[in-house]
Amino acid sequence: MKVLVPVKRVIDYNVKARVKADQTGVDLANVKMSMNPFCEIAVEEAVRLKEKGVATEVVIVSIGPAQAQETIRTALAMGGDRGILIQSDGDLEPLAVAKLLKAVADEEKPGLIVMGKQAIDGDNNAVGQMLSALLGWPQASFASKIEVAGDKATVTREVDGGLQVLEVATPAIVTADLRLNEPRYASLPNIMKAKKKEIAVKATGDYGVDVAPRLKVIKVTEPAKRSAGIKVENAAELVSKLKTEAGVL
């Protein structure tokens, strides 16, 4: 079974996003960029499926600027087999991304699409579910465990208040939650090997998909800052302040 893993290049997890002074967006110039952490988990899961003999090929796809090739290389160094970059300079909305990924899935015909549950820039948590709807394939979102047997995948999902287990018929889409696995670090030999792996570069126009934005960004602002309060000496003073000053006990 072929496994398709979409990945996104985003601001590094450890970098604090800063709003541009002109309120047009977040300043990404000279900021460290990395693979979205949920996408890394998805890549790791796909590679493990290959190591278990379930997946035969792991195809990495990214939609983004030319530099997103680096993100694809990272995924190839983790164990992906080949990459597809759909080059796009502007950031696309989830609907456009889902339509492009549908076009890729129509061409590649994977048995499973494993992807992160959300990107940490737009925080939409939408593309996986939308792709499932557009393809008409079953979805199992927020996965913490995936088991594939024959043409079925049994997926444990993180839901409010506990866990849910779903069985989906393949081809299917699974979105990765944090506890699904701990992604590996690529070894130096694997990083070298990844440089020789094939990345096909496409343009959004190659897929005949309407990627025009539906939302207009009026402004991007910083949230109201919370100011630091006071330090208290001990627990007794804290309880007294919470009772009399804050009135929350």
Partner: protein, 310 residues
């Protein structure tokens, strides 16, 4: 324009995230209906009828809707969208699971986790883990919106809207519910609790987390939360996680114990009314958002706190 709110309910009980989403809907339009989906959910529908300001309740009741399968939930809503200009869904893990499907089928942009309604087409939503707020205007004729419940006040009760039955969506049969395992707890729900006590990586083990955090929470009638670091280390279950990648909470009192205050954690709790931080590192970022801080080892501070509460 008419707006449909999808209720947040287990089969029998309505959660107050529904009331909060109704408040967001009423800021868009005066014509708001509430859809309750579930199996044997008539009690939840009756409870929804009491929400102030709504026109009516729609009840879709079927065995397929009993377990929150996204395909069936989305199909149920889509069949109703001819009569509505917008659908608002609480941004819970259940709501986020099916709402984007509706947007895909309607060919519109999903609008995720709004925290403010500016006007019927314009909304504010957090991006980059809440480090930036984006004001966006939608040009789509129908809108699919998820609502961050903690950002809106709950609509009042005292209404008496009638309940109409609507058809449940079909099941293609490719997704099958197998089982679920819910954590049984007498504590309040994390996202609805008035007080939250959270522990971080400083706890060092699951045993210590249970020994320190849980008794304090129980003493205060509070819900228990955890930082991502504590969850990743296995000290606390994932559904305790407060933060960008977990739950967003805004209780009256949030007590952070042994939590340094990573950006991703702050994104999940900085809208709490009063924040208390207990940490032995005086430079921990959590103190920059805390109203009251105690610099000290939780091992001595928490027992003192328990004693001071008696």
């Amino acid at each position: 324009m008419a707006v449909l709110v999808v209720a947040d309910n287990d089969n029998a009980h309505l959660r107050d995230t529904t009331h909060k989403t109704v408040t967001a809907a009423l800021a868009i339009s005066g014509d708001v209906d509430v859809l309750v989906m579930g199996e044997g959910a008539s009690a939840a529908a009756a409870a929804a009828g009491k929400i102030e300001g709504i026109r009516k309740v729609l009840l879709a009741d079927s065995a397929d809707l009993g377990h929150g399968v996204a395909e069936v939930q989305a199909a149920t809503v889509e069949a109703l969208m001819g009569g509505y200009d917008a659908v608002l869904v609480p941004a819970t893990s259940g709501g986020k699971n099916f709402a984007p499907r509706i947007a895909a089928h309607l060919d519109v942009a999903p609008i995720s986790e709004i925290i403010e309604v500016v006007d019927a087409n314009t909304f504010v939503r957090p991006i980059y883990a809440g480090n930036a707020l984006e004001t966006i205007q939608s040009s789509d004729s129908k809108k699919v919106i998820t609502v961050r419940p903690t950002a809106f006040k709950a609509a009042g009760e005292g209404g008496s809207a009638g309940v109409e039955t609507v058809a449940a969506g079909g099941n293609a049969g490719t997704t099958r519910f197998v089982s679920e395992e819910m954590v049984k707890s007498d504590r309040p729900d994390l996202t609805a609790a008035k007080i939250v006590v959270s522990g971080g990586r400083a706890m060092g083990s699951a045993e210590e987390f249970q020994k320190v955090i849980e008794p304090l929470a129980d003493r205060l009638g509070a819900a228990v939360g955890a930082s991502r670091a504590a969850v990743d280390a296995g000290y606390a279950p994932n559904d305790y996680q407060v933060g960008q990648t977990g739950k967003v909470v805004a209780p009256a009192l949030y007590i952070a114990i042994g939590i340094s205050g990573a950006i991703q954690h702050l994104a999940g709790m900085k809208d709490s009314k009063v924040i208390v931080a207990i940490n032995k590192d005086a430079d921990a970022p959590i103190f920059q958002v805390a109203d009251y801080g105690i610099v000290g080892d939780y091992k001595s501070v928490v027992p003192e706190l328990m004693a001071a509460l008696d």
